[in-house]
Amino acid sequence: MNLARERTRWLIGISILGVLPFVLPGYWTYQLSLAGASVLAALGLNLLTGYAGQISLGHAGFLAIGSYVAGLLTSSFGGSWFWIALPLAGVITGLTGLVLFIPALRLGTIYLAIATLGFGAAVTQVLLKLSEVTHTYEGIKVPGPAIGEISLNRDLTMYFITAGVVLALLWIARNVVHAKLGRAFIAIRDKEIAAEAMGISLPQTKAYAFLISAFYTGIAGALHAHIVGIAQAEVFNLGTSIQLFSMIVLGGLASLPGSILGALFLSLLPELLKLLVASQQYYNVIYGVLYGGLLVLVIIFMPYGIWGYLVRTSFKFPKARKFLTGA
């Protein structure tokens, strides 16, 4: 790993993120913030599924918990609580992630898929019931972040907060992946028995995987609630879980840049398409065929995702390869 080259890449990324909101119209800043929340969730899911090999079709449940925890806090105590609510949402969601780690200890892939799917469905039902109790059928109205009594411009603030959080958590994810824990993730994914023989604790590693993944997704949910201004349980359903899953497969399993590419691509695709297709009548048909067709074609022609394809292709071009992989 060439640190100087990596630093250059981070600086390029940071400066692009810093300039974008001043170049793009406000609507796109908003969309980019939402895409940023998706990037976080995709990073979390990829750590769990791509690296540690634990499938989850219930990550929408974590998004919902994160958005409710943060939303309840800021709507009850005011926008200045945002700075506490955000990490707290991550921590609480992370702890609920441990609920799933117990079945994950014993279950194979498909069985875990149905267990996590059930978890996602259960969370939505419980939260819907909760909103009946609290009389917030239309969701919880969430204020924007504030410092003391001064409330900030929501779209722009949330954009920079999201960008900052994404960069920070990306940095942490990068370190986790390259450290002992990340190696342990990959080891239990590839062969549980071999990993145990090398002295890796299966329960501990899986617990960490679920904890970290749920933490990331919870933060993403909290950000989502504050970007949109509302925390709603129905927003995060099975479709959301499946879309997150498509993001990491499309971008590339077990790849951090892949998670970013996949998440950005799938969250911005509908918006880009809206620019191209004017008629509402055919929009749904075109969007469905395009989105579905893309998934099918990417798996056929890029079995290891977009990022995997880029890296493999770049082997022919040493300079490009060095830029992409840093090695």
Partner: protein, 298 residues
């Protein structure tokens, strides 16, 4: 006493529902066993063939049996196409990615069906109405009877097909070991294609029969049926065909019993309870009720 009848009645309805979940599960297990793919497009393939039956019934004025046959044929063809053009070219991809392929297929089918039939719920007329007979306070509707008979005949026929015909034996060989099957001269690609066709067709039967009980047909009506079928398959052990039947019946009955419990919140949380129960059972029996126990770590 009054309550007991109620619970029995709900259990009977549950058996009928469970038969349909079982059929859905059967289709998914068949596809999984031979091709290692969890077919998340099952719901949309079923939805498409049910819409074909709908068109046959309303626009072409076909009799119900004819519409059912049309749906089965349509599903079979869709299954063949999906295997040939979406899954076979992607054979080199990791198995986990193939799940996304079926999802892509589901999206395409959903979008196309939306373009053809629109987005509203269409009424689905059904010839069999009323009750067949009743014992005490229990009533057996004709629909329930038909569902059970169809599910029984179909699954028994299918098991016989797997057991005694040459193609059936080839399917089981492919499920057991693809390489060995290929070495024995079995055209594994063709068998996979056939399994997709049959799996889709079984789903279509479930779809056409279940639609009247859920008041009509729209683009997403099959998703919850598929999820319960999926859950049923997992509960039974995803590699076991009889397991799919057992799992389907169990889920159908349990779900309906939860409706019968007169406490308000129990009915509202029934899906949560069903899933919690499944997770519990899986934690005790990680390979489902009838699944083959694989060695740990494989």
């Amino acid at each position: 006493m009054e309550n007991l009848w109620l619970y029995l009645q709900f259990a009977i309805n549950g058996i009928a529902n469970g038969c349909l979940y079982a059929l859905m599960a059967l289709g998914m297990v068949l596809i999984f066993k031979t091709t290692d793919v969890v077919n998340f497009a099952q719901a949309d393939m079923t939805m498409l063939s049910t819409f074909v039956a709908y068109t046959a019934l309303t626009s072409w004025k076909w009799p119900f049996a004819g519409a059912l046959v049309a749906a089965i044929i349509a599903a079979f063809i869709v299954g063949l196409i999906v295997e040939r053009f979406a899954l076979r070219p992607a054979q080199n991809a990791p198995v986990i990615s193939l799940l996304i392929t079926t999802l892509g297929v589901a999206l395409i089918i959903n979008a196309v069906a939306g373009g053809i039939w629109g987005y509203q719920t269409l009424p689905f007329e059904y010839p069999l109405k009323g009750r067949l007979f009743s014992i005490g306070n229990l009533s057996f509707t004709k629909h329930n009877a038909l569902t059970v008979v169809v599910a029984l005949v179909l699954s028994l026929g299918f098991f016989a097909f797997l057991k005694f015909t040459k193609i059936g034996i080839a399917m089981r060989a492919t499920a057991q070991n693809k390489l060995a099957a290929r070495l024995m001269g079995i055209n594994v690609d063709r068998i996979s294609m056939l399994c997709w066709g049959i799996g889709a067709a079984i789903g279509a039967v479930a779809g056409v029969i279940i639609t009247p009980t859920i008041t009509g047909i729209n683009l997403n009506v099959m998703v919850s049926v598929m999820l319960k079928g999926f859950a049923a398959a997992v509960l039974g052990g995803f590699t076991s065909l009889p397991g799919a039947l057992v799992g389907g019946l169990l889920i159908g009955v349990i779900e309906n019993l939860f409706i019968a419990i007169p406490v308000d919140w129990v009915g509202q949380f029934r899906e949560t309870f069903v899933f919690a129960l499944i997770i519990l059972i899986l934690t005790v029996r990680p390979h489902g009720l009838l699944g083959e126990t694989a060695h740990r770590g494989t």
